[in-house]
Amino acid sequence: MAETSFLEVKNLVVEYTSDKQVIHAVNNASFSLKRGETLGLVGETGAGKTTIAKTILRILPDKAAKIKAGEIFFEGEDLLSISEEKMRTIRGNESAMIFQDPMTALNPTMKVGVQISEAILLHNNCSKQEGKKRAEEMLEKVGIPGQRFNDYPHQFSGGMKQRVVIAMALACNPVLLLSDEPTTALDVTIQAQVLDMMKDLKTEMETSMIMITHDLGIVAEVCDTVAVCYAGEIVEYGSVVEIFDQPMHPYTIGLFGSLPDMNGGRARLTPIKGMMPDPTNLPKGCFFQDRCPYASDECRKKHPDLNNAGGTHTVRCIRKGDEQNA
């Protein structure tokens, strides 16, 4: 595994503290990503997807969040043990993030172009004019006229803001792109446009990507591998083919309940009855036990390990483990 891994997240544990309560947002998450590959990170709201992405860039709120354990190897280096200075040279440069909410991700009192050129000027030895020129090129690339460099975010529509956020993330040709639901804020036609644009840019720049999404259509369209996230842990992991052909974890099966309409249009993850366990008070045993139709006594007693299910496919469920062992 290690030989070709470009990004490897190992046993990541992240907690938030709010009102003296500890929120277990990420619990022992592990996955890896090869150069040029796209990993789809799926799961319902509050599963810890954004937290994982922010941890990779080390931009979690420093008071509220704490990385309790884990390693993140990026091009062979553990991002969690390097200095802040070193990390700053990676952020926005080799690794960049497209934020979930374009409405709040842009500074309302700073020109849009200046916000794009900020990263360019930080990571390249170039003059202000050169930075401006490149920012204008980035705007053109995402389909916004370069003259709009001097506009402020409020002069843009939601879709255009999202493009600006994308242009900002791509400004320094990152080798790792963390896209946090880059299309949820957009209407369907623009969604398709933005997605196509990202796919083009990705092949053009040979970028590896973590695509956080609720949209199975997007997963099928752009991802090579999938990690299903539940209550802060990866419950199923494998190639798109493996996961789509043979989802094994009851949670994944539940999510894919809508798969038959895949041909009809964009299928979204279907809601599953019940709620995710309270992240301040996770149950003993399997986190999915309360919603699982197959839950047994053992599921309530012992937390399941990630079991191999053939190929690169792994599942965190004892049923799978039993089959495997039997």
Binding site: R88, N107, Q115, Q155
Partner: protein, 323 residues
Amino acid sequence: MGKYIVKRILWLIPITLLVIVFVYTILFFAPVDRARAALGMGASEQAIAEFNEKNGLDKGYLGGLIIYLKNLLHGDFGVSYYTSVSVSKQILVRLPYTVKLAILATTFGVVIGLPLGILAATHQNSWLDSLTMALTMFFSAMPTFWFALILVMIFSLHFRWLPSVGYESWKNYVMPVVSIGLHVSAIIARQARASTLEVIRSDYVTTARAKGQKESKIISDHVLRNGSIPVITVAGGNLAAMMGGALLIEQIFTIPGIGTYLFSGIASLDIPVVLGCVTMLSVFHGLIIVLVDIIYTFVDPRMKVAIIQNSAKKKILRGGETT
């Protein structure tokens, strides 16, 4: 934009008129015999009649108001009932002291309060933050005259470094400015801390961090501007309020500003004096608020658009009505 400002300034006229009418009404119906107060109890009937005629007090409520407004139109604020000194002259002489004090104290407040508030926010929950919060709590709760008296005790009575009365030298302004400024800076620091904390937690600051920007540049480029918007409101409001003079402070340090003048006018129900001060106060207050709005549009581009769109929308509506 220019049109908007002119409109805002024109609006000050009816507002000021309304203020004048209100204040005049209260003063006119106050149960006091101004002639006897001015001329003494033993004044002759004739002297009293002359006094009332000279000051327009014989024209009744409406007559007096109309005469006052007529004179105001010619820039004449009338004369004090009791000293016969021209009110406009007095205001012109006194205004510079009050303006100087107001601007210096507000500047002091911003220069000390804004960085302190930002520092406290960026070091949230540290000893620096706790200390700032404790101090600003104290300084915003204590009245300014209390600081003034403490300062006088220390710097005038004990060390004899600063004069406690007078208005000629810059030294006379140190203690008045500091005693008001400490209070203002405490309020501004608390506001700056609160708004900075909010901005620091906002998504666009995380975005800036994700670009690899340094913390210090994040504060100066992203946080400062957004965090200072509420601070402008507080500073502007303070400046406007201080145009009426810092009453007690002018009194303590015998600064001949608007505050002392207004105070003496109110105490003796001297209608022209009070109305003159109030008119001036309401105009300045309005102008400062317009000025603050203009500053807003420079700091926050969203404001400018809101203003322009607002007037454009009205124009469209009006156009629609005529066609």
